[in-house]
Symmetry: C2
Subunit: 411 residues, 2 copies
């Protein structure tokens, strides 16, 4: 049985017309010879509306009840989607997370999938029906409804593709694939034909987020081919897949910019065990999301520690640091809220020299000042002045030829 | 464990304010020493909106998917209701029909309850929580979601009360109880303190429908005290219960009028086996709801047969009869669409003479012409001219003293 999983996000099923258009994508796949499993999100803004309804009754609603409430949005979509397919001449059956035994842990609002029972789905697929599964939701071992958190429907889809050994998991969205950089920031960005899970993970965590990183991690772990494509037109998008040799020939696959960043530098912190842990525990408690961290020793007893966060978390971060400033013996705190982060990502970096040189060269030529640098195995990020951000991104994109298809770039 | 089941209809939970008010009724019961199980319907007009969404995609949606879709409305209500209770300081947990194993047959959109697993509910009640159950829904033995049809939440509530051996099942609604007749038609109608299941069944089927007849049948079968009361004020309503001796002292408990009725009289139909079956099979096929049927023999070979229906079904009924007129050898068809039906109901009729005499006397004194008469063991109905309907109802109510509490009526 040749199975394909197709996932449609909330904007792709927001109204009857869009549901019918999504159903056409399903019928295309049937005509290509596939048995189709559809995963869908709640329609349009429904989830936000339900959250608002809940907060009117309880500003801090119990997570179990919130999951019970929110799970209904996706159930509505798949039932309606099944009706549309039936009307278009294709047998279809919809399931809740519970009905296919998508079993998760009981960590409500951010549950993790433990197992999926594929028997019922396989039966229905074999009988010729399209199987539709409400995304974002599961059940714990006591039958309580759980939800998988942000990007949960992507995770449902990839997990189902893994469990059903599907040939591909198609993620339908309102963009037609993954671009070398955000086309709103750099007009000449080009669509990638393929990208590795690791590159996509770096890009997802850097805010290029067409897909949530948990879904990509799942895909990597279970070797699921993920195809990100447009729900409004029937053409190939970008394939997220395992690294293949030709990927390594490309130095840099994509570049990103993150704006509205802030950097806090803690000067002269006592360099003793537990201080860093104390700082970041305090920040986590204040719900500050920390991006990059850099620490440098300035003497045997003192270190400078800096970290970046979004400007929206800056006030909370400043307060959190102020509270423990004495305890960690911090001499001074410098804050910058006028910065942006430019990153380049590529698995080719692992085996090629010269990426850093080329990056810094491009920034230097564009007269962009670099505040600080962090790296991972397949990523280099630079903090630059916010007002130079777009210019910096463009310089980097041009340097790494991100405005050209891979085949046309210089070797 | 002293358990009470409280059911809130869609208008009683239409918005946050109303959900909070309903939650106050729950807290009242907790303070009266009860463990409380709440059954709730979908908020306001949500079910109608979902049906409209479905029809846009499929004018004739598959019943299984329709049930899957509609079941979400009630789940939303109970989750929100639980959040409200938590915020008001009372532990609460909501369940779908499936989560408490409300098992039904698989007759989608009008499923019948087969069994309920009370274990989980009992555990939660014992731990001090309010248990909230989504009304109107169950699951079949394969885990497909089913719905119980019109008035389904009433049925869920009464069935839960039976399964949990609750002391009472309270049906909260926008009226404060059952009246001797419709107060909009006869201003001096009085609220009944109690009424028997059988009387309520006759009244429900006659359109006085505060509650659906299936729920009342369930209550009768499993001996559940049903208390119909107002969701907006905390005072006693009407108790629906088994017949008690004093009920028999009352000749007539209530009276009803059904307007917008039509009567078709089939004259000179061949009086042979199978003809009546043929007629009503044909009407059922045309989805005509038939009320009363009267047949009289006019010769050894011929009979006159008449039946009533609502004026909205008249066109379909006329067409259905026209189609088989020759086959049943019907000589002529007379149609009246200017009639109303007046009925009086009372278990006292079983053991008392004179109800018919009193009824016909009252109508005669009011100069109301009686077209035809039908009876059951505890009901007498008369077809009268539509324009005399309200006058006839008033005459009947006065004759049977339905404007006075039972204790004040003449013996």
């Amino acid at each position: 049985m040749k199975i394909i999983v197709q996932k449609f996000g909330g904007t792709s099923v927001a109204n009857s017309k869009k549901i019918r258009r999504a159903a056409e994508r399903v019928i295309d796949a049937i005509e290509r010879g596939y048995k189709v499993v559809v995963v869908a999100s709640a329609r349009g803004k429904l989830t936000d509306e339900l959250i608002a309804d809940a907060r009117k009754l309880n500003p801090n609603p119990p997570a179990r009840e919130m999951d019970q409430l929110l799970s209904t949005g996706e159930i509505q979509t798949v039932a309606l989607f099944a009706m549309a397919l039936e009307h278009m001449g294709h047998g279809a059956i919809s399931f809740t997370g519970g009905q296919i035994q998508m079993v998760t842990d009981n960590d409500h609002s951010k549950a993790r999938i433990k197992s999926i029972d594929t028997m019922r789905m396989r039966e229905e697929l074999e009988s010729g029906k399209v199987v539709l599964v409400a995304g974002f939701q599961g059940v714990d071992e006591s039958g309580n409804i759980t939800t998988l958190g942000r990007g949960g429907s992507d995770t449902s889809a990839v997990a189902l593709a893994a469990a059903l050994e599907a040939e591909e998991c198609e993620i339908y969205t309102d963009v037609d694939g993954i671009y070398t950089t955000d086309p709103r920031k750099f007009k000449r960005a080009v669509k990638m034909e393929q990208i590795s899970y690791d590159e996509m993970l770096e890009l997802a965590s850097l805010g290029a987020g067409v897909m949530h990183s948990r879904a990509i991690e799942f895909g990597k772990k279970y070797n699921v081919r993920i195809h990100v494509r447009s729900s409004s037109e029937n053409k190939n998008g970008t394939l997220i897949t395992h690294e293949v040799p030709q990927m390594e020939e490309v130095l840099v696959s994509g570049a990103t910019i993150e704006k509205e960043m802030a950097k806090l530098s803690l000067i002269g912190v006592a360099n003793k065990p537990g201080n860093a842990a104390k700082i970041f525990a305090h920040l986590a408690h204040a719900k500050v999301i920390v991006n990059d961290i850099v620490q440098t020793e300035v003497s045997t007893k003192k270190a400078n520690l800096s970290f970046t966060t979004s400007t929206s978390d800056l006030a909370a971060a400043k307060k959190a640091i102020e509270d423990i400033k004495e305890e960690i013996e911090c001499e001074n705190v410098f804050v910058r809220d006028d910065i942006a982060e430019i990153s380049v990502v590529g698995v080719g970096m692992r085996s090629h020299y010269g990426v850093a040189e080329k990056l810094f060269g491009a920034l230097s030529k564009a007269k962009v000042n670099i505040d600080s640098i962090t790296t991972s195995e397949i990523r280099i990020s630079c903090i630059v002045d916010d007002h130079q951000g777009e210019m910096a991104l463009e310089a980097v994109c041009v340097a790494f030829e991100l405005d050209k298809p891979v085949a046309e770039r210089s070797k």
